[in-house]
């Protein structure tokens, strides 16, 4: 450094660092000020044409206010009744605060042109936000998770409570029961809402487990190579050869089915796909200069894998994980449908479809609505996954 200073001629232009042309970073348009934002967070952003972010904030704000108004009696009556109610109340508060604070912060930020180059994640985020279908999918997923968390305030009935078996059994969709009742005279809508929590959380946790295992194993295999790599990859070949459902029902049926077993087994059978993807990426990455540099600097192998290789393989892993959540939700529903998943009386979309199977001709609604819920959820995840794939792959970016 001192040597350079001695020469006094750093190769910098006199006018300072090169400026990114303003066209590359469009200025953030803004309409309406903090007052509008304080009343209806998100509206200024929507008016400015940023309907993805603004619409999400506005939707969360309006939806949560409506929920609070609708479920107010229940909130007041038993605010700390059980874990479910506490989680729901916390979601309500955090969601409202979050939407409000985000919008205020966003509105107050000065509207000016950014003169800094932006990173690959910001580029991807911008590409993603241009994909209307994907943004709609992301908003739908957020809505599903909020609804699942707020279920105690939203569900009209107790999901396990049986109505009058003579007058209320298999009643079609009407005002009292918007989605009808099942063969135990339970409210289908309430069960659907409570079932959402099972399906959504199982998908999320199982994929979390499988992505963690898959990424680490794939990165280590690709980086180390040799015998370890061959053994792991041959094992991956074998596991991938099983129709996954066959492997799952074989394992689950031999133990006592429980929600923890299902999450574990779903998580432990999905990693081979991720491992393959990550290993392939690592094989090409490990020959790159930055890894050679990291080795030359004497970094430990663990550090190279965790800090240098894994972050660079994340893009395809994120895509695979998003698509994997949808896939896992379908599988969980399938296991529950076969009676090997979530056990009654816990409501889950798969068991609800199975319940409806025996009453198809006299009560079509029992099997139809939970199935539709599965389709819409998985569709949202697939839309987001497709959008992420397009956004994260620079070759597909326009």
């Amino acid at each position: 450094m001192s040597e350079l200073e001695g020469q006094g001629a750093l190769p910098l232009p006199a006018e300072g660092p090169p400026v990114v042309p303003a066209a590359a970073v469009p200025p953030r348009r803004q309409r309406g000020g903090p007052v509008l934002s304080a009343l209806l967070p998100g509206l200024p952003q929507v008016l400015a044409g940023r309907w993805g972010a603004g619409g999400t904030a506005l939707g969360v704000w309006a939806g949560l206010l409506w929920t609070a108004a609708e479920g107010w009696e229940r909130v007041v009556r038993s605010p700390w009744a059980g874990t479910d109610d506490r989680v729901a109340l916390a979601t309500l508060v955090v969601g409202l605060l979050g939407a409000w604070l985000w919008s205020m912060e966003d509105v107050r930020r000065p509207v000016d042109v950014t003169f800094v180059g932006i990173g690959q994640w910001a580029l991807a985020a911008r590409a993603f936000s241009r994909n209307r279908l994907a943004v709609a999918g992301a908003m739908a997923i957020l809505a599903f998770y909020l609804v699942a968390l707020l279920t105690p305030f939203l569900a009209p009935y107790d999901p396990a409570a049986q109505g009058d078996l003579i007058t209320e059994r298999l009643v079609g969709p009407l005002a009292a029961h918007p989605l009808g009742t099942d063969h135990f005279a339970r409210d289908v809508l309430s069960r659907l809402l409570y079932g959402a929590r099972v399906s959504l959380s199982i998908g999320f946790i199982a994929v979390g487990i499988s992505v963690t295992i898959g990424t680490l194993l794939g990165a280590v295999s690709g980086f180390l190579g040799g015998a370890w790599d061959s053994v792991v990859m041959r094992f991956v070949d074998m596991v991938i050869s099983f129709p996954r459902l066959v492997l799952l029902i074989t394992i689950i049926a031999l133990f006592e089915p429980s929600i923890f077993l299902i999450i574990t087994v779903l998580g432990l059978t999905q990693w081979p796909g991720t491992t393959r993807i990550v290993r392939g990426e690592v094989l090409s990455l490990r020959e790159r200069e930055f890894i050679q540099a990291a080795r030359a600097m004497g970094f430990s192998r663990g550090r190279i894998v965790l800090r240098h290789l894994v972050p660079n393989t994340l893009a395809p892993v994120i895509v695979a994980a998003t698509l994997g959540i949808g896939n896992t939700i379908v599988l969980e529903a399938g296991l529950s449908f076969l009676g090997l998943g979530v056990q009654p009386p816990t409501a889950s979309w798969g068991t609800m479809v199975a319940d409806g199977r025996n009453h198809l001709i006299d009560a079509w609604w029992v099997a139809t609505f939970p199935g539709l819920a599965i389709v819409l959820t998985v569709l949202s995840f697939n839309l987001v996954g497709d959008g992420l794939r397009d956004a994260l792959d620079p070759r597909l970016r326009t």
């Binding site: 099983f242 049926a253 198809l360 998985v378």
Partner: protein, 328 residues
């Protein structure tokens, strides 16, 4: 080519043996024991011990593994507890049903998927393209068992009982009660009617995925120079699409054959259960209910082995169709 084939075949052997090993240890290291279902409350311990010995369950796991593997290599899958006959004969009676169903579904799925993909690619960015994309993604996101129930609801139950449609399909079973008394054409007709709904529910989900893939593959090919040349020399659009573009666009679709086999077989488990179709999928679900270990092991092994073979076929097909693939 012959050496390539031979090498791939030899490479598949350790894979199949490894699969057999996984199957065995998954099933045998789990708690529970098939004799538990057969034990009556008043039985004496000696009788139970005798029963365990009869099934060979008194030996340590590694001995049982070696014995099982040795028998498996000779084609002996053991004895089914629940069916009280050799596993091989149980499988011989159900495997053809599953193969019939899967082959039909695979054929329909590829036909529909490829056609839809072509239409979408040729009319890229049109209303039809977007509409088909959304519909395809909708089906792609659908659990096959639910689709099956909805098809039964509409095309079997309501079409027959409420709407009086001129055509409706049977909701379950591989054939009618009077199947044996039908003429040959009647038999074929009866089978086709019974297969319509299961095949539809299996193949629609697959076709949606194939259409998505085919569209992308076709779009890539349409941009190539030789397609432009074909257009420039004045060929009709049909000749350009079907003779020049389609042939090359089909090559990557072959890989889907290998990729979708596990999905297809997972689907048959549901579809056979829903439609009471006496195939491998229904057999394994029933066998799990009765803790029939040898049958469970055999069925899951055969499913996985079929996937291995399917992948092998797909790879070889790929090498045959695309001369650019090197097989050293």
């Amino acid at each position: 080519m012959t050496t390539y084939l031979l090498r791939r075949l030899l490479g598949a052997i350790p894979l199949v043996l490894g699969i057999a090993t996984i199957v065995f240890f998954v099933v045998n290291l789990a708690p529970g024991d098939p004799t538990q279902l057969l034990i009556a409350p008043g039985m004496r311990p000696e009788v139970v011990e005798q029963m365990r010995a009869n099934f060979g369950l008194d030996q340590p796991v590694h001995i049982r593994y070696l014995k099982w593997l040795g028998a498996l290599v000779q084609g002996d899958f053991g004895y089914s507890f629940s069916h009280s006959r050799p596993v091989a004969s149980v499988i011989a009676s159900v495997l053809p049903n599953t193969l019939l169903l899967s082959a039909a579904a695979l054929g329909v799925a590829f036909l529909v998927g490829i056609l839809l993909g072509i239409v979408q690619a040729v009319r890229q960015y049109s209303l039809l393209d977007s509409a088909l994309s959304v519909v395809a993604l909708f089906f792609y996101s659908m659990p096959s068992f639910w689709l099956a129930l909805m098809l039964i609801l509409v095309f079997a139950l309501y079409a027959r009982n409420y709407w009086d449609w001129p055509i409706w399909f049977p909701a379950s079973g591989p054939s009618s009660v009077d199947y044996d008394f039908l003429s040959l054409t009647g038999k074929v007709r009866d089978r086709a009617y019974h297969m319509a709904l299961p095949v539809a529910s299996l193949s629609l989900v697959l076709a949606a995925g194939i259409a998505r893939y085919m569209r992308g593959s076709m779009l890539e090919v349409v941009r190539q120079d030789y397609v432009r040349t074909a257009r420039a020399k004045g060929l009709s659009e049909g000749a350009v699409v079907f003779k020049h573009a389609l042939r090359n666009a089909l090559i990557p679709v072959i890989t889907l054959l290998g990729l979708y086999l596990p999905v297809l077989f997972s689907g048959t488990v549901f579809i056979e259960t829903v439609f009471a179709w006496p195939g491998m999928g229904k057999t394994i679900v029933d066998a799990i209910g009765t803790r029939d270990y040898p049958l469970v092991m055999a069925v899951s092994f055969i499913f996985a082995a079929m996937v291995v073979v399917g992948n092998l076929v797909a790879d070889v097909l790929y090498a045959v169709v695309d001369p650019r693939i090197r097989y050293e």
